[in-house]
Amino acid sequence: MRIRWRSPIRGPWLTSVLGLVLLCALPLVIVTGLLDWVAYGPGQTIPADVGALHLPLLGWPTRPSWLFRLTQGLHVGLGIVLVPVVLAKLWSVIPKLFTALPRNPLRAAERATLVLLVGGILFEIVTGLLNIQYDYVFGFSFYAAHYTGAWVFVAGFVLHVALKLPAMTRGLRSRSFRTELRTPLAQTRSEPPGDLVAPEPEPPTLSRRGALALVAGGSLLLAGMTIGQTVDGPLRATALLLPRGRTLPGDFPVNRTFAASGIAPAAVSAGWRLELGSLRLTRAQLIALPQHTAALPIACVEGWSTQQTWSGVRLRDLAALAGVPAPTSALVSSVEVGPFARATLTGAQVRDPDALLALRVNGADLSPDHGFPARVIVPALPGVHCTKWVRSIDFTTSGPRP
């Protein structure tokens, strides 16, 4: 099969520019993604056993309080923004797919590793996009698949960069970027004959700067439709097609509704007690304790976030009340039953002065969707561990390092 490639702008220079963008941006997506695994904390990482394939599992800090908001917002946001660049890069090298496999076994093996590179990045994009839109059509564990896929991609990516860095440098030096930005359609010519360059191109319908503007425009469009899921106020609605561009009227986003929790309303009404070891506290008794107010973000693994003003009892005060003044960990359990209905906090997370068992938000009692009667809120803690509908807190002096 012989395909006639027609584009007069396909060539090493354009591929190199797109490659450079990805070379700069993808490491940020990779690292912020791997940080998310660390942020879940010792004993709670998903997947649990990843061998040596993880960043050092140090205690996730509580400061700055927007740390997880930033890292996870970047991971998801930048991941979306790079979709047009990845697609353009694949377009730019597609003639290679139809060239014969090299006879040299080493070259053939190098070509085979592109399966990890291309399969890896597209698998990560597809599973990531489905996950943030709550579409679990794939039917397997998102966490395990996305984490494994990430390392498969990293394997292909590192080798690809190592092999192609000289070609990218040559490609970038082959034409002046500034001159290309000044070259209109009428002056657009094919690159000199060689790799990727069409031997018999059609007349151009788009300049190189036009093609770059098209890709950048696609990225900007997606950025404009994504950033809203991390800001509060009217701008949130700019995330037109994402679940987190919308909220219930007059409310801020939740990651799980009370209805979805399956909790019987009676379990969180007048009979509810907070269990602190052998202590049992009613909500009125909690309200009577010294209250602390802090503006803290809820930031979700799906990349969205919101900052609200929470009031409640400091976790360290509750620890003292429970007779564990210097806890090294705390196991928080929800009335809810399920995989995310409990979370272990480190000593540092419990001791942070803004770490709260929140009873109120923005001056009003928590609503059922936001965790009434009480929920945990800790600076920089992934939202999924800010347990709602809290039933008990076990402060201990064993467990994860402080």
Binding site: P47, A48, D49, V50, G51, A52, L53, I80, V83, P84, L87, L90, L106, A109, E110, T113, G119, L122, F123, V126, T127, L129, L130, Q133, Y134, D135, Y136, G139, F140, S141, A144, A145, Y147, T148, W151, V152, A155, G156, V158, L159, L163, E202, T205, G210, L214, G217, G218, L221, L222, M225, L241, L242, P243, R246, P253, V254, R256, T257, A259, A260
Partner: protein, 144 residues
């Protein structure tokens, strides 16, 4: 140099294989492995064998657009690409897939996404048409 390249390829394959052990370590994931591989293969082929033939074929049809004082091709191409890109990225909401989980997570249904996307496509097409009209007007004003 060849030795170095061979070592690189081996290291890459070794890391890829070691990464795959993550799903092997957890027996509860074993039934999912064939599906994960199938999705990986699907992702690998998604651009080159699905998206590329589709958009390349549509783009080829643009050469048949009628000749105009300002070529129409990019004024059709840009909004089409914008529509395709947003459809691809935001597909689950637009086709209402995953409704129950979406409802449980957000308290909201997926009803508005399709109409919002259609409005977005209309807006991109309208803006592109407007720019084309402005360019034609300016050209005829300048060139007579």
């Amino acid at each position: 140099m060849t030795g170095l390249r061979a070592a690189g390829v081996l290291a890459c394959l070794a890391l890829g294989a070691y990464a795959a052990t993550i799903v092997v370590r957890d027996p509860s994931l074993h039934p999912s492995i064939p599906w994960m591989l199938a999705w990986f293969a699907g992702a690998l082929l998604l651009h080159d064998l699905v998206l590329f033939p589709l958009y390349a074929a549509v783009d080829r049809m643009l050469v048949h657009l009628p000749a105009a004082p300002v070529p129409l091709v990019n004024h059709v191409r840009v909004p089409l690409l914008g529509a395709g890109l947003t459809l691809l990225v935001f597909l689950p909401g637009i086709i209402r897939q995953g409704g129950p989980v979406h409802l449980g997570a957000t308290g909201l249904d997926q009803a508005p996404y399709l109409i919002r996307w259609l409005w977005l496509v209309l807006a991109m097409a309208g803006a592109s048409a407007l720019v084309w009209v402005v360019r034609v007007t300016r050209r005829s004003a300048a060139g007579g």
